[in-house]
């Protein structure tokens, strides 16, 4: 399926593949008849922070969910960490080990404590000894400023705390790429800040990050690139300064005028 398209010459890549964290070439996806991703070409360099914004239904969540194969693309190629995503389950699992994801609704495991949430994947996927996994988990729980909640259950935490646990849970797998799917959209205003702070601190460590968000302050502060999507396609891509002060596309200008008051 995805290998049928060899149309790689469409974008002559200047970068060597080991500098690239993610490479998307002519990616297309449909939900039934609905064309949700249209000719997506994107190269993400290692250590790059990319913010993706756009109106709802523009395909931005679908785009990053294709990177760890929570969604399947039907045409084009996606290469993550030098491994191409195909039907091969082993390769999908290999990629998922290196790609962390943070969801809008946290998706913590409610039947496990915070610490167990964080150690589960390292123990079962990375085959790490329990003690070592717990040390790493406590390290990252300190990074997200909630080591004291380690033995509570997710249901006992606030939304902001849960989202920070979700970030720590992903980091415990020590991934090379982090995907954020609207991480602050389900949070109360007072809790958005504590989550964004953690994300800024993570960006400062040099993590490769793809962030779908409406937090334009975050985009200005940490992004290397801002991508604006509409109707399943990339409409505009630029540095934050240029993107916010000098948007080119009419659609981008309209969008910015509506979200920046």
């Amino acid at each position: 399926m995805s290998t049928t398209s060899n149309n790689t010459s469409a974008i002559a890549s200047a970068a060597s593949t080991d500098e690239l964290a993610v490479q998307m070439i002519d990616v297309n996806k449909w939900y039934g008849e609905f064309h949700v991703l249209r000719d997506i070409n994107l190269e993400v360099f290692r250590g790059e922070r990319i913010v993706i914004c756009g109106p709802s239904g523009s395909g931005k969540s679908t785009l990053i969910r294709c990177i760890n194969r929570l969604e399947e693309h039907q045409a084009g190629r996606i290469i993550v960490n030098g491994t191409e995503l195909t039907e091969d389950v082993k390769k999908i699992e290999e990629i998922r080990r290196e790609v962390g994801m943070v969801f809008q609704h946290f998706n913590l495991f409610p039947h496990l404590t915070v610490l167990e949430n964080c150690t589960l994947a390292p123990i079962w996927v990375r085959r790490m000894p329990k003690k070592e996994a717990e040390e790493i988990a406590m390290h990252f729980l300190e990074k997200v400023h909630i080591p004291e909640q380690a033995h509570k259950y997710p249901g006992q935490l606030s939304g902001g705390q849960q989202q920070r646990v979700a970030i720590a849970r992903s980091l415990c797998m020590q991934p090379q790429i982090m995907l954020f799917d609207e991480p602050t959209s389900a949070l109360d205003p007072e809790m958005i800040k504590e989550v964004l702070e953690v994300m800024v601190e993570l960006a400062e460590t040099g993590m490769t990050m793809l962030v779908v968000t409406h937090e334009m302050g975050f985009a200005r502060q940490v992004a290397d690139r801002v991508i604006f999507m509409d109707q399943g396609q990339i409409v505009e891509m630029n540095t934050p300064e240029e993107f916010f002060t000098n948007p080119q596309s009419e659609r981008t200008k309209l969008f910015l005028s509506q979200i920046l008051h």
Partner: protein, 385 residues
């Protein structure tokens, strides 16, 4: 103050010192307060309460009179339980006492009784610590109960001449022993099998999904009595002549598969209740399908459907009584057979026998029910408000 200034109907307000939390007001004023609020809050509720009490009194008093006050506790034969001076006696417990061994084990040889008593004792010794959450070594415990124990139970119950245990044919098994064997094997087989078929029914693979649906719908579409008749009468006709399946094993398999189909649908209900985000989070962490199911989805899904699972267990336990129809002497079968004994033929023998049966079945079913409620509370990890 100018007359035109409109006076606000409220006062501006602000607070710098936050209020400290206070304890709630005392909820009840003792037993009397509780009674008054819950049973006698107005004349209608008072009337209902009194009617309810009267009804309980009518039922309970006659039951107590029959089972305890007028009961006959000792005696050698029917003469003890016959009406005395034209006055009917109550429950004939002397009869239950005389038949007790038979009710417990059917026709199991008396000198071999220690064998199934040992099986009971080991079973309880392994089961009780597994059921109490605080006891450690759950893994080893489960391994012993589900791995080693069935082998031990088989060797002891059926026998192994090489170990000096004479064979006791399954046709000699009966009473509570047979009921417990069928019910426990059925329970132990039906839960994992039900989980497998529930997962199969939700599988992406068409063949597996079709086979699961076919299995579930077949067994759900057939009455258990039909299954039992099929297994005891039809199955031997289909099998080659030299293949003989044990008379107890046949309905045992039927009961287990029947319960597994119901279990599969119960578990499927639980699987459907788990949000998609749980699957996605597990996948995003790189868990394999079986890790995701075993560590994330099933623990939550099974916890949700504990009431349904226990419902199926209780149903299965009571359904074992249907094997008496195909000539097995389970607890119900053996009690009914004993009623034909002329030595104990009295007007109250049958009511006593059924009262005894009800008590035994109730003991086991109510026990399962209470334990499931305890487990639900124990596994609750959300915010308790």
């Amino acid at each position: 103050m100018p007359a035109t200034t409109k006076k606000l109907p409220w006062q501006p307000f602000h607070r710098n010192d936050m209020l400290p939390p206070k304890p709630p007001p005392p909820a009840t004023t003792g037993v009397l307060g509780w009674l008054r609020r819950n049973l006698f809050s107005n004349w209608w509720n008072t009337l209902l309460t009194l009617l309810g009490l009267w009804f309980i009194w009518v039922v309970a008093s006659s039951l107590i009179e029959f089972a305890l006050i007028k009961a006959v506790w000792t005696g050698e034969d029917r003469n003890a339980c016959l009406p005395k001076d034209g006055v009917e006696v109550g429950a004939c417990w002397a009869y239950v006492n005389a038949k007790f061994n038979q009710f417990m084990d059917g026709f199991y040889p008396a000198d071999q009784e220690w064998r199934y008593l040992t099986v009971y004792a080991v079973g309880i010794a392994l089961l009780v610590p597994l059921l109490i959450p605080k006891v450690p070594w759950k893994g080893l415990n489960a391994l012993l109960l589900f791995g080693a124990y069935p082998v031990l139970a088989y060797l002891l119950l059926y026998g192994a001449p090489s170990l000096g245990l004479p064979i006791v044919e399954t046709t000699q098994w009966g009473g509570l022993l047979l009921t417990l064997v069928i019910a426990s094997v059925g329970i132990v087989i039906s839960l994992p099998l039900g989980i497998v078929f529930a997962l199969g029914r939700r599988s992406q693979l068409p063949v597996i999904r079709f086979l699961s649906i076919a299995f579930i719908e077949f067994w759900r579409g057939v009455p258990l009595i039909t299954v039992l008749f099929m297994s005891s009468v039809m199955l031997p006709l289909f099998l080659p002549e030299d293949v003989t399946l044990d008379k107890v094993v046949r309905p045992l398999v039927g009961v287990a598969l029947f319960a597994a189909a119901y279990m599969a649908e119960v578990v499927r209900g639980g699987l459907q209740a788990i949000p998609k985000g749980q699957y996605e989070a597990a996948q995003a962490l790189g868990l394999t399908y079986w890790q995701m199911m075993g560590l994330i989805i099933l623990p939550q899904a099974l916890k949700l459907v504990i009431p349904g699972i226990v419902n199926t267990f209780i149903g299965l336990f009571k359904d074992t009584s249907l094997v008496s129809i195909i000539g097995l002497f389970d607890l119900l079968g053996i009690v009914q057979t004993s009623l034909a004994d002329a030595k104990w033929s009295t007007p109250t023998t049958a009511p006593t026998a059924y009262l005894f049966l009800a008590l035994v079945y109730f003991f086991f079913c109510y026990g399962m029910s209470r334990y499931s409620l305890f487990m639900e509370r124990h596994l609750h990890t959300g915010h308790k408000r």
